[in-house]
């Protein structure tokens, strides 16, 4: 890299910083959107997740592409990351598939919740409420 290249890189780094700050404010702002008040398909939680994690993904891209220089890196590192992401997906899918599987006797059951109620840590009435009150 020549000195001139570095000068232009410095500008990019600071612009990425400002963008990250802006997205941080945005992500807090959108968390106050009352998705349950709109007549949307899927659950309000789905939309909160979608919007919140989309912004996080953009921020993650900015950090990895610019600060970690993944926008111009060697192939060895791309292969390495591809492999670890593949394993990550496997790691996440197996327990999730099991937790909703019909063969799982505890499918849809929150573990330890009953214990919490018995130990008096949590209010038992909450567990008898409807799903909508959250």
């Amino acid at each position: 890299m020549s000195d001139h290249d570095i000068e232009s890189h410095i500008k990019v780094y600071w612009n990425v910083f400002y963008a990250l700050l802006a997205f941080t404010i945005l992500t807090v702002a959108v968390s106050y959107i009352p998705f349950e008040e709109y007549n949307l398909p899927f659950s309000p939680m789905f939309w909160a997740l979608l919007v919140g994690l989309s912004i996080a993904a953009i921020k993650g891209y900015l950090v990895s592409a610019y600060f970690m220089h993944l926008n111009s890196e060697r192939k060895a590192i791309y292969y390495l990351l591809l492999l670890s992401i593949l394993f990550l997906v496997v790691l996440m899918v197996i327990p999730m598939a099991w937790s909703v599987s019909a063969r799982n006797p505890n499918a849809g059951y929150a573990p330890y919740v009953q214990d919490d109620v018995e130990r008096g840590y949590v209010d038992k009435d909450y567990y008898h409420g409807s799903d909508e009150d959250h």
Partner: protein
């Protein structure tokens, strides 16, 4: 006895990288699995319990403090990049300045985290209180340990370790780049932790 360790500065022909860089990326790949396991735990516990944190009386997370911490960590990331750029421009005092700001931000992050935890303990909320708190303390705690580890390495590179600049500047610049990759990863984890735990 003086052994020359190969590929500290020059790139290996097969990987196109100096060894430390490949090493840190292998380590970060294992970190992805570590945090990934905790996130999948979080997703399953969360989807299995619709009441989640509302089940605990008086449970709440301090969003303004966490937002401030996010901004602090982002600032520390950009100053870290600037400290590396300063070395590339052979500006050693610039490196000292930016790395100093990075360390200051990291310590500030932990101080804020301390007050956040203290507020939870003061009202009797512990990891054993509820799955929600177990997940919260485990993930933010592990992240905090990563911050502490980063501070130790960065402080070494800032003070005694920086002597290498006089004897082997290229190798020292590479050390800063590698430490920076770790630090940006810790920042990246927080960027995902913040919306998924605090805001959902």
């Amino acid at each position: 006895m003086d052994i020359e360790i190969p590929y500290n500065v020059e790139e290996r022909e097969d990987t196109g990288l100096y060894n430390a860089k490949l090493g840190i990326w292998l380590f970060l790949a294992s970190e992805i699995m570590l945090f990934g396991a905790l996130f999948s735990t979080y997703i399953i516990l969360r989807t299995g319990d619709t009441t989640w944190m509302t089940a605990v009386k008086g449970a709440h997370l301090n969003i303004p403090l966490a937002t401030l911490n996010t901004a602090i960590l982002i600032l520390s990331s950009v100053t870290f990049v600037m400290s590396w750029v300063s070395l590339k421009l052979k500006d050693f005092s610039g490196f000292k300045k930016y790395m100093g700001i990075t360390l200051l931000c990291s310590v500030l992050f932990l101080v804020i985290k301390f007050f956040e935890y203290k507020a939870k303990f003061d009202v009797g909320h512990y990891p054993s209180t509820h799955n929600f708190y177990a997940v919260y303390f485990t993930i933010t705690g592990l992240h905090g340990i990563h911050i502490i580890g980063g501070i130790i390495v960065n402080a070494y590179l800032w003070l005694p370790g920086s002597k290498m600049w006089n004897t082997d500047p290229k190798r020292f610049t590479n050390r800063i780049e590698v430490a920076g990759l770790y630090w940006h990863f810790v920042d990246l984890v927080w960027i995902i932790v913040f919306p998924s735990i605090y805001l959902l």
